[in-house]
Symmetry: C2
Subunit: 210 residues, 2 copies
């Protein structure tokens, strides 16, 4: 256990894995090629969260806003999301995919996991994955009938890639979340980033707006 | 003009003036007495924003969550909000107060300004003030009928007092906002804080989630 000095472990962490394209450009690759290098970091983080006893995590896959990007980028981030889910199917997690699955953009390979939780292996933690998500779609039917109602309140959001914003990430579950930004790009994920975020989280209080 | 090196001026800035109670404790006062010292900084910031050409600003007054605080604190922050509005009535701004005015907690003195924009003086900028605001109340009727529909999308949110979170501040208008946190408490507002936030804002891009 590495959490001896960390008394407060967030139950639910939101992950905004930004910076894949900037990372690719910095490595003399096409922008689209960055997404592939964002898959493995997700599993390293998953293993780290299991180790620290995090019960639930929500990963920002892609949004309807993102699908306005050039088509080769769109194909690449969709492929990366499908690969990530297929890989997760061999691990121990309860997967819930939330997003607009009625759109043509939603990957067919993931339809079987859409908007219902599926147990993989021992189901050691809940993993939510936003796929073709859109905040307007989520809130369309009012606060009591949000499309993401099976995703719980988020305690801590960690964003990679330096941007200090939510970019439409689950507005309802994020109203009281503490937000920690890692300047490095997501493909450069290190376990230390997570530990740094958790150390910072120890210094915050939880008031839920009170 | 001080904005010669600042090419991008956010049109709409959200202000979360946090840290009044911690400031009071640090000055050997009762927590409730901090709110009074948060009034003047608001006007200094208003004048700074006018100088820089900001067109709209939304101040987080108090929320329904806040009204669960001890009654002497509640009375003090309500009194500070009323004083701020009465003072603003002598300036040049278009005021819109947004909040649940049907509740007993909503200050009677402000009912005449509730949920409709009022022009003061030359009306040089739009000032929105959240009074007895609640994000659930705001979103209750769905995304197309939010209670805060007269408040536009926010480009930049500046929060004083070190907390890195939104605390229920206008979830819809904040989905794409850049968020800048000043560690100092709100009563210690300095014009330099604003300039620091604006300098940082120059380094961000605007993608609106794309």
């Amino acid at each position: 256990m590495n959490n001896d000095i960390l008394k407060r472990i967030p139950k639910h962490i939101g992950i905004i894995p930004d910076g894949n394209r900037r990372w690719a450009v910095g490595h003399n690759m096409d922008k689209k090629d960055g997404y592939f290098y964002g898959i493995d970091p997700g599993f390293k983080l998953y293993e780290t969260m299991l180790e620290y006893g995090v019960k639930e995590a929500t990963f920002y896959g892609f949004t309807q806003d993102n699908t306005k990007r050039p088509s080769n980028q769109k194909a690449a981030f969709i492929e990366a999301c499908v690969s990530a889910v297929n890989n997760l199917a061999n691990r121990d997690a309860n997967l819930l995919i939330v997003g607009n699955s009625k759109s043509d953009v939603f990957p067919k390979e993931l339809l079987k996991y859409a908007n219902k939780r599926v147990k993989f292996g021992k189901g050691l933690m809940n993993i939510n994955f936003l796929v073709n998500y859109d905040w307007k779609w989520d809130l369309n039917n009012g606060i009591n009938n949000i499309a993401s109602s099976d995703i719980s309140r988020i305690d801590l959001i960690i964003r990679w890639g330096g941007r200090r914003r939510l970019s439409g990430f689950l507005p309802v579950q994020s109203v009281y979340s503490d937000i920690y930004v890692i300047d490095e790009y997501w493909p450069d994920f290190k376990k230390d980033h997570f530990k740094e975020a958790l150390r910072w989280y120890q210094t915050t209080d939880v008031t839920l707006g009170g």
